[in-house]
Amino acid sequence: METGEPIDFAEQVRHCALELARDGVGALASVYDVTASRLIRYASTLTRQRDDAEDAVQAALVRIALRPRVLAEARYPWAYLLKVVRNESLNIVRRRKPMRRLKVRTKSWCEYVAEPGEQELHSYVRRALGKLPPTQAEVVVLKIWEEMTFAEIGEVLGQSPNTAASRYRYALQKLSQHLHTLAELYHD
């Protein structure tokens, strides 16, 4: 699985970014193929809706296509790409009408992104993750599923690594309230 090799994945993104800077918009397809699923997953934690997450990813990739050199020259291209997606997601959330925002909040974002035919346990975990505030949920996603360091997470969020670490700890404590018994059963 791709998530098991974070360094390779980051290198892959860097390679795609260099291609994009060299070949232009034609190389955007390879960037999309490599990153789209993960970007949608991350954007979903912020927008809590699949359509908005896809819109955010689209806007971010178009923005990157206009200035591919910035991505290629970034210190962490993958972190930079996530940051662009984050900004676009927050813009979409900000532009939402108040009533729609209220409706979305009542639903868990995992209901939109859950894949059919998965174990009930995993969907329960993701539902618990969806109950967290977006600022904490995104740190959990970046730390556990993207396997990023707190320094990289801090770069994505525009915060210090310590802030990212404390948010992560709060998030885990909240998750443990929901998943305590489930975790014991799972590991037994």
Partner: protein
């Protein structure tokens, strides 16, 4: 208080629940299409900006060139032509003639106040006689000469 072991268990549980959502089929097509359109628009705007700046730069250079090397207006030698202009306003009830200023002859190099001080008698006699008569005459003449006053053109 949750202990560290419990947090590790939660961490592992979340780690095992990893998933990757598969993006919709049309999304890729849409993204690429939008990117190409945006790139094209960006290029057009860039060209438009370059053309506009080139044209405006040329116009500025031409204007500055004309100002520096073209036929600049020569400064006028006769400055009295552009001197102050005296304006007279005539009303229908008054003479068209400008008021005559009486020039009193005073001793050379002395002011009026000094002449009054040093020669009180002759000046008083002259002034009283000349000041009383015109005042009386002017009253009559004004009344009698009203019909002679020409209309204001």
């Amino acid at each position: 208080m949750t202990d560290l072991r419990q947090l590790r268990e939660i961490e592992r549980l979340v780690e095992d629940s990893v998933f990757l959502p598969s993006p919709r089929h049309q999304l890729k097509h849409r993204v690429l299409k939008r990117a190409i359109e945006a790139k094209y628009r960006h290029k057009l705007w860039k060209r438009f900006g370059i053309t506009t700046s080139a044209v405006s730069g040329t116009l500025v250079i031409v204007y500055v060139g004309f100002r520096l090397f073209g036929s600049a207006p020569t400064p006028t030698q006769n400055s009295t032509q552009n001197g102050p202009v005296s304006v007279r306003i005539y009303s229908p009830g008054h003479n068209l003639e400008p008021p005559v200023v009486e020039q009193t002859t005073t001793a050379a190099g002395t002011s009026l106040g000094e002449s009054l001080y040093f020669h009180p008698a002759p000046l008083q006699s002259v002034d009283s006689s000349s000041a009383a008569r015109p005042a009386a005459e002017s009253g009559q003449s004004n009344l009698s000469n009203n019909k002679d006053v020409p209309t204001n053109p």
